[in-house]
Amino acid sequence: MTQSLLDICNVSCERDDRLLFQNLSFSCTHGSLTQIAGANGAGKTSLLAILAGLLNPLEGDIRVDGNSIYDDMAAFHQRLLYFPHRPAIKLELTARQNLNFLIRLHGGRATQADLDSALQEMGLLGYEETLCRHLSAGQLRRVALARLIISEADVWLLDEPFTALDVQAVSDLEGLLSKKASAGKCILFTTHHTTQMKNYSKITLGGASDIDD
């Protein structure tokens, strides 16, 4: 299990003629938790977008199980969970409908019992049938995060998962991430919080040199 799952090889990223980072290389294994750190504008979100295959790097390659993701993007996407800033929740639908859609969009299946227990685990007991427009910002995040409990994907990219959560929810989520990591998921996340999690590694972005501002 020590063989690396995700290899980032010499990746450079440029957005709008600004070089964000250069020759970035690291590897993640099954069961690893990796924090992407760096100042605002250092390219954390861009790195996650590159790893998700949404953004093309200027140079370099991303490999999963030794194969470049650019050779078979669809296959890679089917084992990917990408959780960006915007959680893809429709305000017109109920919490359960939203969760069900997100699972099914990614080819998964979940019974109503699975959905409800995931929502309950996120502290949304009694809100399953509530329209999302009646939920608070924190509750909306939790509806979206309930995906993590059901997801079958093994590469997780989480962009600021702790945003808008209260102290209790943050520590619940930390517990969930640790648990899922030890169950073999490969998890990369960005955060501004200092986390209480143990056994995670940290990649710091920043300091691309040849740009003036």
Binding site: A74, K90, E152
Partner: protein
Amino acid sequence: MTDHRANQVNDKPLLPVLTTIFKHELMTAFQNRQQLVNPLIFFVLVLLLFPLGVDPSPQFLSAAAPGLIWVAVLLSSMLSLGTLFKDDLQDGSLEQWLVCGQPLYFLVLFKTIVHWLYTGLPIVLFSPLLALMLHFPMDNYSVLVLSLLLGSPVIALLGGIGAALTVSLRSGGILVSLLILPLTIPVLIFGTGMVLASIDGVPFMGQLALLASLFFLALTLCPLASAAALKMSVLNS
């Protein structure tokens, strides 16, 4: 164990995802019923302007009816299509579409068709009533509806490109019409041409065939452009 899992998840069929999107789109749309009637109201309103502004005489109206109805369909489609992807971009759904492992081409095509089902189709079905008020000759209703049935999806598919190109821009509304209306001219020409030919009692199979080929051309090519534009818009918003 890893290999086993990889093989298992590698095989995710497109069809269930499309059915899910279909249900999801309709549920979302019907939660917002006012948005469903708005294009229809606009369509009727535009047609109301011509008798008032130009000439209410049956001679003028019956001659102009095919063109008037087609132009009203074009304008109301442009308005409702302008925001086709806006909500999906803002709430992050588009990002999930991009990483769900299914070809974006089909998702975009499907989304556009579903949107046409609940905005374009009602207008098409409603058009005979307006045709009646415009003294359009009764015998040719079926041809009018047929021309709109083939033509309005083309407008929707072209409009989808405009919507995808402008989805992350603030100045969405009028820009979509500005970009897309010139491209809809062939549909307008063949659509009205078909109806006019049928009124004149001459064969209209040629126009029908041309309209049908535009339909299939749009069906295959437009989602390519929309998908490319959407992918880029998501990354830059």
